[in-house]
Symmetry: C2
Subunit: 317 residues, 2 copies
């Protein structure tokens, strides 16, 4: 089968079809999304070798539980061992022995076929199109914030970063009746958010210091972290979605003096994300900037890496 | 009156007695404790000029509310403006216009007399001696952790740093039925904790990785922070009591990947601290290493700065 395989470099290559293990389903990929993490992996992040891709919607082709066959599905990307304390608490996302679809020791979705454990699958409602369903995984990562932090109505929230994840997070916080400001650098992306009735801002200097009860850092740049520390209120909650290549030099004293909580946040729950898509409560299709067939996957990666670009999709024809 | 005054250097000097403003009490200092923050201020921290000292027990000499006169008191060190959002929520500790006793724009307790707003005072029960009551302020800072973080019984907790604050924190966590391990470098301090039935450890390497649900960093050294990140469980809570002079170079990616919460923690509630002292549920007197009269205050500072030293007290004779 055709697949986008990374081994020091990204290749469009022929790979054997994946073999399903007990408890797994064989899935035909319908559509997949390129994430910043994919781009980072092609720059060496995670030291991954294999088929890339973790945002997808597909169709179950083979499964020991026949009820799944023919179903359109999305899938949680963390594969737990099933027997550790974390898995027993349904925290497969933190299983120390986990593999991660297209990221860590598990071939991903930029291929004609992929496999996942049945327990990772969620059926996609008929009213949710492929172009919407493919956003389930990143939208779940945005929903994770609401799982981690209590968001009383009227919470003043600043989202830093107008990339794909920042745009999803701003929308999710708005669902929770937060007063959301999105700080970003790209006119086209901020214009999208403005269309969605989100207050936007292009300059950190124009925002007051120590003003926001919740700040989400989603830029991936140390500058974004410094801005977050500047803008958060005493006793506020700073949600960290970014990692910084090579670490960061920072003064954590404001965290102590102002008793700020810094909350690391990664993958999130699929069910509420699918629910938001089903009820058309978040805008995702406007974030699609391009779409390529799998055989043009390398071109898709080039497009996704271009400045100012939002979501680039790969479809399996 | 005699006072320990800091202005570029620490001086034992004659100062005018403080004037009481409306709502304030005049307090005769009975005993005061030297804190690491005092030592840091003498090295330039906070850019403070004035009388040092914020850990004290004293006697009210003058007060518009006569019921306080003659009472032995301890006092909260943050003086709020009384009218901002934080003060209205009883968060004077985070008032943006606050002054701080002996630390920021308010003369402190290393003097014959000091003043504090009546609302900052707490009467000391007769059964709590001066040598115990003087620990109220740092013990409150230890209690702050239980105010910020839910500590279910059996929580596995690692306290890093066997200094004065670390020893108090380990005891407070034990009160909450945490399974406490204290990691430190000083045999004499760890021996104290062992006497209090706290599990102690002298080498970070001998502790398992990602093992503790709660980790408290109280060393003031970037090494301590790195150890905290190593030892905390996924979804664990890392309480940061330390600030690091000159900032810190760190990789925050593990916070994101393991969804760790980093919780800055500073001053705490006096009432539960006094309660712990009244019920003799924490050991403090064993932490007193030396005591000097105010006129030998400079000598007291020298003693407090010596390696391996715990609490050094200054008494007003």
């Amino acid at each position: 089968m055709k697949a986008l395989y990374f081994d020091q470099q990204l290749l469009l290559t022929d790979c054997p079809e994946p073999e399903t293990r007990t408890g797994e389903a064989l899935i035909r990929m319908r559509m997949a999304g390129i994430c910043n993490t994919d781009l980072e992996i092609t720059h060496g992040y995670m030291g991954f070798t294999g088929i890339l891709g973790h945002e997808f919607v597909g169709e179950v082709i083979e499964c020991e539980d026949a009820r799944w066959i023919g179903k359109r599905v999305v899938g949680e990307i963390n594969l737990g061992c099933g027997s550790c304390d974390y898995c027993r608490r349904q925290w497969q996302r933190h299983c120390p022995n986990r593999t991660v679809l297209g990221i860590y020791k598990k071939d991903g979705a930029f291929a004609e076929y992929l496999t996942l454990p049945i327990e990772n699958l969620h059926a996609v409602p008929d009213t949710v199109s492929d172009h919407e369903a493919v956003f389930t995984e990143p939208l779940a990562a945005a929903c994770e914030i609401a799982e981690q932090v209590h968001l009383p109505p009227g919470t003043s929230a600043l989202v830093i970063g107008d990339g794909k994840l920042g745009l999803l997070i701003a929308q999710v916080l708005k669902q929770y009746n937060c007063e959301v400001t999105l700080l970003g650098r790209h006119r086209n992306k901020l214009a999208l958010a403005e269309n969605w009735n989100i207050r936007v801002c292009q300059s950190a200097e124009s925002l007051p210091m120590q003003e926001f009860e919740v700040v989400v850092e989603a830029t991936g740049s140390p500058d974004g972290f410094a801005t977050a520390i500047d803008k958060i209120k005493p006793r506020g909650k700073l949600i960290l979605k970014s990692t910084y290549a090579g670490g960061i030099h920072t003064d954590l004293a404001p965290l102590v003096i102002h008793e700020i909580q810094l909350i690391g946040s990664r993958c999130g729950p699929f069910r509420p994300a699918l629910h938001l898509l089903e009820e058309k409560r978040v805008h995702v299709k406007e974030m699609i900037h391009d779409e390529f067939p799998l055989r043009e996957g390398l071109k898709a990666f080039q497009a996704a890496g271009a400045p100012g670009r939002l979501k680039v999709l790969i479809r399996n024809e």
